[in-house]
């Protein structure tokens, strides 16, 4: 989990080289070159139909690009196997409220990866689960059904699930859709805190340009078609090779 101690510790986690995506002869994306480096916070903003979700899906391997190359952690996405290094937080509205799963079950499912197939969960799974529940302050609701929680609580559950493997990169797809303004503020505060103090790299798709600009600045680093990329780097002055903070340090002290 530690940052790789090399000359340039801010290694690219995601590299896009001449990535194209077209759908039925229509170019959604053309020759996109971009990289996400360690400890970046990248906000991807664009109107509906700009291709934000498509881009995100390509980045996490859900969809192949029609041209160009995507590399994750220095490896071509086709060969990439270390999926536990990436935490994924989906859109909240993907959840069916009647789904009979507890918070505990949902958060634990973050541990189910290509490497755990055919295996029982390791002994430290319980510790990891407790840690993730504690960090997101959802221990009290651990045995509640996910559908009975408020939107903000559900978002914390999904964040806890994404964090349980202590990933290096968190990918968030419109995480605040359908959540009231106050809860959104709290959520942004939380992920900012995680970015600044826990050395996690963020990639977030959002339509909420105001909140992103507050943190990432008004000038996009890059624009491709209708998609804008905002980037902020955390702790440029930190030594390379410094390890991640322990996740058991509560993240959310100031956020409630």
């Amino acid at each position: 989990m530690s940052a790789i101690p090399t000359a340039d510790c801010h290694q690219p986690m995601i590299e896009l080289r001449d990535v194209c995506f077209s759908y039925k002869d229509q170019h959604v994306m053309k020759d996109l070159n971009f990289s996400v480096k360690e400890r970046d916070f990248v906000g991807i903003v664009g109107s509906n139909g700009a291709g934000k979700t498509t881009l995100l899906k390509m980045l996490v391997g859900l969809m192949p690009p029609t041209g160009g190359e995507i590399r994750l952690f220095g490896e071509s996405i086709r060969q990439f196997r270390d999926w536990e290094r990436i935490g994924y937080v989906p859109q909240k509205n993907a959840l069916n409220m009647l789904f009979p799963a507890t918070v505990r079950e949902v958060v634990t499912s973050g541990l189910f990866t290509n490497k755990s197939i055919f295996r029982r969960l390791s002994r430290d799974a319980k510790a990891k689960l407790d840690d993730a529940l504690q960090v997101m302050r959802i221990e009290d609701i651990a045995d509640k059904r996910i559908g009975r929680l408020s939107g903000g609580q559900q978002q914390r559950v999904f964040l806890a699930r994404a964090m349980i493997n202590q990933p290096d990169l968190l990918v968030l797809d419109e995480p605040t859709v359908g959540i009231d303004a106050e809860t959104q503020d709290g959520f942004f505060e939380l992920i900012r805190h995680m970015h600044q103090h826990h050395n996690i790299t963020f990639l977030m798709v959002s339509h909420d340009i105001d909140r992103l600009e507050d943190y990432l600045g008004k000038e996009p680093r890059q624009q491709n078609g209708k998609i804008k990329f905002f980037v902020r780097h955390s702790h440029d002055d930190l030594d390379c090779g410094e390890t991640n903070l322990q996740h058991s340090i509560p993240l959310v002290g100031s956020v409630e």
Binding site: K57, V60, G61, L62, R81, W83, E84, I86, Y88, P90, A94, L95, N96, M97, L98, F99, P100, A101, T102, R104, E105, V106, S109, G110, F112, T113, N114, K115, S116, I117, F118, L121, D143, R145, G147, R148, R161, V171
Partner: protein, 267 residues
Amino acid sequence: MEILFSDFFQRALLGGLLIGLTAPLIGIFLVLRRLSMIGDTLAHVTIAGVALGFLINVYPLVVGLVFAVISSFAIEKLRRAYKGYAELSIAVIMSGGVAVASFLFTLGQGYNTDVTSYLFGSIYTLGRTDLYLVGGVTVVVLAVVVFFYKELFLLTFEEDAAAVSGLPVKLLNMLITVLAALVISTAIKIVGALLVSALLTIPVACSLFLAKSFRMSIVLSVVIAEIAVIVGLIVAGIWNFAPGATIVLLLILMLLLTLVACRGYTV
């Protein structure tokens, strides 16, 4: 009462108990992935296979099973082609199955009574071979659900997250559909093709309101299905009702009771 101790009833009870275990076990993954109707589809396709089996004089249930498995591949293919409209694939294959079945019926007029037993179930005619088949399917279903419980949970809860975790999503989807085909084609002899999806879905429908967790909803669905099968078979045996229909009506009664008990309680 003697009927309860007869050989054919004992075989029916054993077959019913096995199906009462496998049907909700697969049903929960189907219902939660919004594929409730797949049971009906595969059952109708199975009937086409059964009809062919009679026509070419090959063990009908096995031909039905092969038909169901092949059509499950077709459903999966169509499901991907019409992503987000999964029910479309189901409607297409279902009507295809009925068409093939009725076409084959007209080719071989003589066996209509036998085919009826597959439409409405004829659990009392469950033979030793049928039991072996049901037993084999039960072992396979149990093994897969136990071995891949984690992966199936994540796939069912959220397919995209499963894919991002590097799980072989296509393979797992296929696995669920093939298992569904196995369960349904063996279950039609017991509850009948027209009623089989009740055994897959109604126990799950009850547990969605009652269970506090995913694990518990699996256990509850199986318990509810087993109660319906055991009580249904005994009641049908004593009063000479149609067994398949009795089981399904009992399931519906249990669902009604659940809904009344959970009135005003929204999950």
